[in-house]
C-alpha cells in the first residue's frame, strides 16, 4: 500500500514537473532578450560625419560606441560604456580625453585609463575604410 502510494506520488510529481517545465520554458524564452537585438554585423558610417578631433556616437551591437578621427585619416572606435559602472563617456576635445560624468573616470583618446575608478580601458573596435565610408566592427 505504502509502496503504491509512493509510486503514484512519484508519477504525479514527475507529471507536474513536466507540465511545469513545458509551461515555464516558453515563458522564459518569450521574455528572454532576442539574440538578434541590436544586430551583430558591421556598422557603416560616412567619413564626413567624423571630423578631425571630433567624436561620433552610434549604436554597435546594442551598445553605445564612439568613433574619432585622431589625425587626418586615422580613425579609432571604442565602446562608449564606462568600465566602472556602465555610464556613457563624453568626449572632451580641449583635453583630448574621455570623461565619465558619473564618477569622474578619465580615459585617453585610445581608451586607456588616466584617472578615476574605471578598472579597465574602453574596449576598442576595429575600423576599416571603404571608399567614403568607415566600416566598424
Amino acid at each position: 500500500m505504502e509502496t503504491r502510494r509512493k509510486f503514484l506520488t512519484g508519477i504525479l510529481g514527475a507529471l507536474g514537473a513536466a507540465i511545469a517545465g513545458l509551461t515555464v520554458y516558453p515563458v522564459f524564452k518569450y521574455l528572454s532578450p532576442q539574440a538578434t537585438a541590436g544586430g551583430k554585423g558591421r556598422v557603416t558610417i560616412p567619413k564626413n560625419q567624423v571630423g578631425v578631433d571630433q567624436a561620433h556616437f552610434f549604436q554597435f551591437q546594442g551598445h553605445p560606441a564612439v568613433v574619432l578621427q585622431k589625425s587626418p585619416g586615422v580613425y579609432i572606435a571604442l565602446s562608449a560604456v564606462c568600465t566602472h559602472l556602465g555610464c556613457i563617456v563624453q568626449w572632451v576635445p580641449k583635453k583630448d580625453e574621455f570623461l565619465c560624468p558619473c564618477h569622474g573616470g578619465r580615459y585617453t583618446i585610445d581608451g586607456k585609463v588616466i584617472a578615476g575608478p574605471p578598472p579597465k580601458p574602453l574596449p576598442s573596435i576595429p575600423v576599416a575604410m571603404s571608399g567614403d565610408n568607415l566600416l566598424i566592427g
Binding site: P26, V27, K29, Y30, L31, S32, Q34
Partner: protein
C-alpha cells in the same frame, strides 16, 4: 520534509493556518449527490488565471497606439519566441471562458440554485458574465486589424439607437466621432486595468457568497424537498457529505485539465478557428471588409438586430432579456427546484437555448 513542517509550524503558531485549511478543505463537506457541473466555478477561476498570466505577458510587447498596435501583434506572432503560443492561448482562452460561463449559468438555472437565499450570488455571477463579454469586446479592438476596427465600429454604433442620448454615448465610447486612437486608448485601459479590477472584486464577492451560504444541494433524489422559507441567515450544512479535499478537489482538477486540454487542442490543431482573414489585415478606416461577423457569442445579438424592423426595438429586446435574467431570482420566487416539478420553467429554458443556438446559426449563415 523538515523545512515544510517548520514553515507550517511557524504559520500555525501565528495564524492558526492548519485550522483554516481544515475548515476549508477536509472539514468542508459538500452534498453527497454533488455533480460535475459544480466544478465549473473552479474551472473558470483557472481559466481566468490563464488569461491574466497570458495577458501580462502580451503587455510586454504590445503597443497600444494605432501606428504600432497591428505590427506589435505581428511581431509577437512571428518574431518573439513562443509569442504565437501566448497570444493564441489568450485569444482561444477568451472563447473557452465564455463557453464555461454559459455552461455554468445554464447548470445553475436548471438546478434552480439561483433561488433564495442565493439571489446575490446569481446577480454577482451574471454581472461577471456581462463583464467578461465587455472584456472580449474591448480586447477585440487591441490587435487593430480590419476585424477589430470594423467589429468595434459596428458594436459602438449600435448604441446610437438609445433614445435622446444615443449619439453622445457613441462619441463617449469612441472618444471621438470615429473609431481611432482615443478609442484604442480607452479600450486598452479598460481591458487591462478597469474591467479586470471590477471583475476581480466581483469574483471575490461571488466566492464569499458561495462560501458564506454553503453549497446548494442538487435538487435530485427521492429525499429532496423544497426548504422552508427562513427569515434569518442560514448556512447550508451537509453533515455526512463528501470532503472538499481531496475528493471534490480531484474532480475540480480533472475538469480544469479537461478545459485546459480543450484550449490547448484548439491552439495546436485549429489555431485559425477564431482568426478570420480580416484579422490578418491592418485596420483601414476607408475600406470595410465584406461579410464581417462578430464572435460566436455575439451572433445572437447581431441577428436579433437584423430581424427586428427597427434597431431600437432589437436593442430593447436584448436589454429586456438581460434585465430579466439579472433579476430572475426576484421574479421566480417559488421554493421548488426540482426540474421535473417545474415544467413551465424547463420548457422556457429549452426554448431559450434553442433560440440562442438558432439565432447564432442564422447569424453565422445570413
Amino acid at each position: 520534509m523538515g523545512i515544510f513542517k517548520k514553515i507550517g509550524d511557524f504559520l500555525d503558531e501565528r495564524l492558526g493556518i492548519r485550522d483554516i485549511l481544515e475548515q476549508n478543505l477536509t472539514k468542508y463537506l459538500l452534498p453527497k449527490n454533488i455533480n460535475v457541473w459544480y466544478t465549473l466555478g473552479a474551472v473558470l477561476l483557472a481559466l481566468f488565471a490563464v488569461q491574466v498570466a497570458s495577458g501580462i505577458l502580451l503587455l510586454v510587447y504590445y503597443n497600444p497606439n494605432t501606428d504600432d498596435a497591428f505590427h506589435s501583434i505581428q511581431r509577437i506572432m512571428n518574431d518573439v519566441p513562443y509569442g504565437w503560443l501566448i497570444r493564441t492561448i489568450h485569444a482561444v482562452g477568451a472563447n473557452v471562458i465564455i463557453l464555461a460561463l454559459l455552461l455554468h449559468m445554464l447548470s445553475v438555472l436548471f438546478m434552480g440554485s439561483y433561488k433564495r437565499p442565493r439571489e446575490l450570488t446569481w446577480m454577482a455571477g451574471f454581472l461577471l458574465f456581462l463583464l467578461s463579454l465587455a472584456m472580449c469586446l474591448t480586447g477585440y479592438l487591441l490587435p487593430w486589424s480590419q476585424l477589430s476596427f470594423w467589429a468595434t465600429t459596428v458594436a459602438t454604433n449600435s448604441s446610437r439607437e438609445i433614445p435622446l442620448i444615443g449619439d453622445v454615448v457613441v462619441r463617449f465610447l469612441r472618444g471621438g466621432a470615429m473609431v481611432g486612437q482615443p478609442t484604442l486608448g480607452r479600450f486598452f485601459a479598460l481591458h487591462v486595468m478597469g474591467i479586470p479590477l471590477i471583475l476581480g472584486i466581483l469574483v471575490l464577492v461571488h466566492l464569499f457568497l458561495v462560501r458564506r451560504l454553503g453549497i446548494s444541494r442538487p435538487p435530485f433524489g427521492p429525499d429532496w424537498q423544497p426548504s422552508e422559507p427562513s427569515t434569518t441567515f442560514h448556512h447550508e450544512e451537509h453533515p455526512g457529505g463528501i470532503p472538499f479535499f481531496p475528493h471534490y478537489m480531484t474532480k475540480d482538477a480533472a475538469m480544469i485539465a479537461f478545459f485546459l486540454a480543450l484550449t490547448v487542442y484548439v491552439v495546436f490543431f485549429a489555431p485559425g478557428l477564431f482568426f478570420p482573414p480580416a484579422s490578418f489585415q491592418p485596420a483601414n478606416p476607408f475600406e470595410t471588409p465584406v461579410g464581417i461577423k462578430p464572435e460566436w457569442y455575439f451572433l445572437w445579438a447581431y441577428q436579433t438586430l437584423k430581424i427586428f424592423p427597427s434597431e431600437f426595438l432589437g436593442l430593447a429586446v436584448q436589454g429586456l432579456a438581460v434585465t430579466l435574467l439579472l433579476f430572475l431570482p426576484f421574479l421566480d420566487r417559488s421554493r421548488e427546484r426540482r426540474p421535473k416539478h417545474r415544467p413551465l420553467f424547463v420548457a422556457g429554458y429549452c426554448v431559450g437555448i434553442a433560440v440562442f443556438i438558432g439565432l447564432s446559426i442564422w447569424g453565422h449563415f445570413s
